[in-house]
């Protein structure tokens, strides 16, 4: 088990993502309805909620892929609506995203995928470009021979890892992970959690992680926010959520599977 809480993490509670009153809908359906959320620097925030509640939609809204109807989003202290295109580019290189389906470029090998943002934003020598890409690929636990494979030749777990390597290519300040451990075997998922925790420690990442994986919530998340009915139902360390009397949260955290996860953790 990782003993990460004993490390000197500088916690001055700087807010890196501040979401206020965000409203998002499609057609006449409202998905998010006045949602408020803070993510602090250096933390791993677990984001939970029933399927279809809009976890991916919120992530995509923060990333600017889905238009919002109302509200403000600040990332690293800048209101996203006020950014000029060049400021936006500067901001975009400071976050990395792992999409729910991986979203690797299908025509490029894993290594080339990792190199895409590096080529775009950095001025690296060929040698460094190769070495850094290989380093990231190894850091996420892929074998070197995976580097020259195409995404269609990878297993589901390898796709997640490769996509994480690409998300980390620029040493971002913030990473968004949409269900990073879904589709992995439990051991693989555990390794992936540890990997995220290690990277968070070494690179000082802030991690926004959408997940359904109770083990991840128990082992690596510093704080958890739960989404329901378009709002945050509860947020805080896991104890706060365990104590909540919201019916969905009660069945989520006190169901059979949750008890098993809790037992294995203690």
């Amino acid at each position: 088990m990782l003993d990460r809480h004993h490390l000197p993490i500088d916690r001055n509670r700087e807010v890196v993502i501040r979401v206020r009153g965000v409203e998002v809908g499609f057609g006449d359906r409202t998905i998010l309805n006045g949602l408020d959320l803070d993510v602090y620097r250096g933390e791993i925030l677990g984001f939970v909620g029933a399927s279809g509640q809009g976890k991916s939609v919120l992530t995509r809204t923060i990333l600017g892929l889905v238009p919002k109807r109302a509200g403000t989003i600040e990332v690293l202290g800048r209101n996203l609506d006020d950014l000029s295109p060049s400021e936006r580019r500067l901001l975009e290189r400071r976050w990395g995203v792992l999409f729910q389906q991986g979203a690797l470029f299908s025509a490029l090998t894993v290594k080339q995928n990792v190199q895409v943002p590096m080529r775009e934003y950095l001025n690296l020598s060929d040698r460094l470009l190769d070495e850094l890409a290989m380093l990231k690929i190894e850091m996420v636990g892929l074998k070197p021979d995976a580097a020259d494979k195409l995404p269609s030749e990878l297993s589901g777990g390898m796709i997640k890892r490769a996509a994480l390597a690409r998300a980390l290519a620029l040493d971002p300040d913030i990473v968004f992970l949409d269900e990073p451990t879904s589709g992995l075997d439990p051991i693989g998922a555990g390794e992936f959690d540890e990997l995220i925790a290690t990277l968070q420690r070494t690179l000082g990442l802030t991690v926004f992680m959408v997940t359904h994986d109770l083990d991840s919530l128990y082992t690596v998340c510093d704080r958890i926010a739960a989404l329901g009915e378009g709002k945050i139902l509860a947020e805080g360390p896991i104890e706060t959520l365990l104590a909540s009397d919201n019916p969905w949260l009660r069945s989520y955290f006190h169901g059979k599977r949750a008890r098993a996860a809790m037992a294995s953790d203690s």
């Binding site: 025509a107 070495e131 380093l135 070197p144 195409l150 030749e153 040493d171 420690r201 690179l203």
Partner: protein, 381 residues
């Protein structure tokens, strides 16, 4: 924030004391300054001849994977030259990062080396083998298609009438306007050119024979086939290819549905029914175009045009054109299907196969038309 990172350029201060060289690493050793970081690291390597090198990280403000990698690489290279090199004053986070990136060489995957001439020969060989394989695949697929058709005939309930009608709409009905338009224009052009040449011999009315035979035997069919190959063949390859990419074809198969029966039979049947119909429409449009031009440009009145047309063309001129159409449809359909099924995971592969589906189909349509011309000449039809 971005401004402040740019301001903090990396620096290195090298100090010598006795047989020790201390390299004080200062500022932001991050990917933004990759070039500087690399050149400073090389400088440390060069300065540190035969000394014990200490990397003092006490004044580093930011270190990322790139910085840590380059530093550790330098340390490793010094070690290989037999010099001792160590880090000092690294914060716990920096130490974790340095451990995490710990330098290791990445061997290049060996790349085979070829000469240009060799590559050329290999390419020629491959494309010949590819052409042969295409032919074999085509024949094999024709067999599968026929057996699927027989199954459908034996169990008519498995026939997908709705899909067929839908495909007929897509392939035939929706391409009527464009085919009418281009056929009409080509008819006009051929007539105009014909009149232009024939008027010198005072043989203007023979333009009717020219148009009638050319359009009915060859032009209408070729125009239609090429148009359909470009319009429907490509769509067909893209549909099948993207279904293949997303494992939809496999999903059909594991549900016990035969993809050929479900997806391909309706499309190819629609092509085989639609192409002769379109050819007929195209013939009429091209003849009308020719007629209008002959009237306006060559003073051949519609009455004269029609009566000459009846003398010039016989039923078999018309049938020759129409008879070829189903074969063209089959060729277009088979090529489009095979290319669609050959798509692999990537979007690029999809694009490549759509292109080659259209190119191969047009090529084969023309080759086949040539073969038919020889055949009909031989049997004097």
């Amino acid at each position: 924030m971005a401004q402040s990172t740019l301001a903090q350029e990396p620096q290195v201060k090298i100090e010598r004391s006795g047989d020790k060289v201390t390299a004080r690493i200062v500022g932001h050793w991050t990917a933004e300054h990759a070039e500087l970081v690399e050149s400073f690291a090389a400088e440390i390597g060069a300065e540190a001849d035969q000394h014990h090198v200490i990397f003092d990280l006490g004044e580093v403000q930011r270190l990322d994977t790139l910085g840590a990698w380059v530093l550790d690489r330098t340390r490793h290279e010094l070690g290989e030259r037999g010099q001792a090199a160590d880090f000092a004053n690294a914060s716990p986070e920096q130490q974790i990062l340095l451990d995490e990136v710990a330098y290791r060489g990445f061997q290049e995957q060996p790349k085979a080396r070829h000469s240009k001439a060799m590559d050329f020969l290999v390419d020629v060989g491959k494309s010949m083998a590819g052409a042969g394989k295409d032919l074999v695949d085509g024949v094999a697929f024709l067999g599968e298609l026929v057996s699927a058709l027989i199954r459908v005939v034996v169990h008519p309930r498995r026939f997908r009438g709705t899909a067929l009608v839908n495909q007929l709409e897509q392939i035939a009905y929706r391409s009527v306007p464009i085919i009418v338009l281009i056929s009409f224009l080509v008819g006009c052009i051929v007539a105009q050119q014909g009149i232009f040449q024939l008027v010198r011999f005072g043989a203007t009315p023979f333009v009717v024979d020219l148009i009638g035979i050319l359009v009915l035997r060859e032009l209408a069919l070729l125009l239609t086939s090429i148009m359909v190959a470009g319009r429907s063949g490509s769509a067909f390859t893209a549909e099948i290819g993207s279904m293949k990419m997303r494992e939809e074809i496999d999903a059909l198969r594991v549900m016990g549905l035969d993809p050929i029966e479900v997806l391909i039979v309706p499309r190819i049947l629609a092509l085989v029914i639609g192409l002769p119909l379109l050819t007929f429409i195209s013939s009429i449009a091209a003849l009308s175009g020719g007629g209008v031009t002959a009237w306006l440009y060559g003073d051949v009145s519609p009455d004269v045009f029609l009566s000459r047309l009846r003398e010039a063309v016989s039923m078999n001129t018309f049938l020759v054109g129409l008879m070829k159409a189903p074969f063209m449809a089959l060729v277009i359909g088979i090529i489009a299907t095979l290319e669609g099924l050959a798509v692999e995971g990537s979007a690029e592969s999809l694009g490549r196969h759509v292109t080659s589906s259209v190119v191969k189909a047009i090529f084969m349509v023309i080759v086949l038309d040539g073969l038919f011309a020889m055949f009909f000449a031989a049997i004097r039809y």
